[in-house]
């Protein structure tokens, strides 16, 4: 009888993180078995709930002292990486959206026409502050990116939640959902909320260079566009500045003539994956962010047969290739880590 119960408790304990199970599993099992009556065959529901709570708490907060240093859990580190990368992509895209407003409306916050479907199935253009803000507020992701870089995570959480709520409103079509990057906003916000404890720390050392680079590119393009919008619009599209401008706008990536953006972005994603080769955390985070960025467009185009007027098959295929490539890199990194762990794990005595 107790063997059956022990097996069931062991199965239940699998919900705990591996590192926690390795250090505490037998001790927990002992306490659970001592507390169980002679006739008990199944774990008590409230006991299972308390273990689920322990599992959640262990995953969401720092794993605790480890050799005198506070170590973040793998979950927290991955959430941190997703928050950092997602905020970077959204910051570049958001700044670009604001530049677009400035280029075509010449001033910010004056109203942006958005097509709305009438009940009789005809379309009208509406100008409203709300629709304008949908173009301009995403630029605040640059501030969120800066906040997580310097380690002010509480402020970043509040702003990210605000951006998510705002992005989820006033969506008229499925294509709007993709254009407004709702999936990426949701994934990034969730990651910002879940990176807690030791994972919610500022960026240090060599990582400050790419972080500063993202901010510099975004601010640089914004400053160039604001300085002389007309020259900017009429300038040679092959100029570096114009190309960077296209790279920043995620919505442009699906249009064939800006496929260069896709190539450059793929290169950035792959560099991040290679840099993080020592651990699957960064490849995994990059894959999640890439899927959240392109996923809704690719799935919408190929699976749901959504109609994007500004999207061609070529761009969607490229996006699918980026996500697939990153997924392969992540799987290889996970397999490599598992093999490395096996080779260093001590064999049981006796």
């Amino acid at each position: 009888m107790s063997e059956i119960l022990e097996r069931r408790y062991r199965r239940l304990l699998r919900m705990l993180p591996k590192h926690y199970r390795q250090s505490r599993g037998e001790e927990l099992l002992g306490a659970l078995m001592e507390g169980a009556g002679e006739q008990r065959r199944w774990p008590e529901a409230r006991e299972a709930l308390s273990l689920a709570g322990l599992s959640a708490r262990t995953r969401f907060r720092a794993a605790g002292a480890d050799g005198g240093e506070h170590r973040a859990s793998r979950f927290g580190e991955t959430a941190r990486a997703i928050a950092f990368l997602g905020a970077a992509v959204l910051a570049l895209n958001g700044v670009n959206e604001a530049v677009m407003v400035k280029l075509y409306r010449h001033t910010l916050f004056t109203g942006w026409p958005e097509p709305h479907r009438r009940k009789d199935n005809t379309w009208e253009l509406r100008y409203s502050v709300l629709t304008t803000l949908h173009r301009e507020l995403p630029a605040l992701w640059l501030l969120i990116f800066a906040l997580v870089t310097v380690g002010w995570w509480s402020a970043a959480r509040l702003l990210a939640l605000g951006e998510l709520v705002f992005a989820a409103t006033d969506l008229d079509t499925k294509a709007d959902m993709a254009r407004e990057q709702l999936l990426l906003v949701a994934v990034t916000t969730l990651a910002v909320l879940l990176a807690r404890g030791a994972a919610a720390r500022r960026v240090r050392g060599g990582w400050l260079v790419p972080a500063g680079g993202v901010a510099a590119v975004a601010l640089g393009v914004f400053a160039l566009a604001l300085r002389d919008p007309r020259t900017w619009v009429n300038s040679n599209p092959h100029r570096l500045g114009q190309r960077v401008f296209h790279v920043l706008w995620v919505g442009n990536w699906m249009v064939p003539d800006t496929r260069v953006a896709l190539v450059l972005t793929s290169a950035v994603f792959l560099v991040v994956a290679v840099l993080g080769w020592r651990s699957p955390v960064w490849p995994l985070a990059t894959t999640v962010v890439a899927f959240a960025t392109f996923g809704s467009l690719v799935v919408g185009r190929f699976v749901m047969q959504w109609d994007y007027t500004d999207m061609r098959e070529g761009g969607a295929s490229g996006a699918a290739a980026v996500v697939g490539g990153l997924l392969a890199v992540t799987l290889l990194a996970l397999i490599r880590e598992r093999r490395t762990q096996r080779s260093v794990e001590p064999t049981p005595a006796g």
């Binding site: 505490r24 037998e26 002992g30 709930l49 605790g64």
Partner: protein, 119 residues
């Protein structure tokens, strides 16, 4: 002791259970049940979450390990810092209880304690 660091009832009971000496996980669960007259039934997940936190704060330490009937037992001991925190918390609760009792006496809800022993 600041209000921000005031303890929950369960934490208070776990620290109290360890005053008399080190106990292992299930021992703490039993002792907390006795201290609360069976009102508090700690679950293993809840207990170990609290033990992790209290160990991290330096209020408890691992005392020793034993294997009994093939099961691993780890005994936890209250540290001096843990005893100090518990004492401060007990005094805080005692003061609060005194204030509540005094006000209830003034209201007449409970009888004033008789002077000079039994009447």
């Amino acid at each position: 002791m600041s209000s921000s660091s005031s303890r929950t009832e369960q934490t208070f009971q776990i620290l109290t259970a360890l005053v008399d000496g080190p106990l292992h996980g299930y021992g703490i669960i039993q002792e907390v049940g006795r201290l609360s007259d069976g009102r508090t039934q700690l679950r293993v997940g809840t207990l170990y979450g609290a033990l992790d936190r209290l160990s991290g704060e330096g209020l408890l330490v691992l005392d020793r390990e034993e294997t009994v009937s093939g099961r691993l037992r780890r005994y936890y001991r209250l540290t001096d810092a843990g005893a100090r925190v518990l004492a401060e918390e007990a005094e805080r609760l005692s003061r609060q209880a005194s204030v509540a009792l005094e006000r209830l006496r003034r209201r007449g809800t409970i009888q004033r304690a008789p002077r000079g022993g039994m009447a």
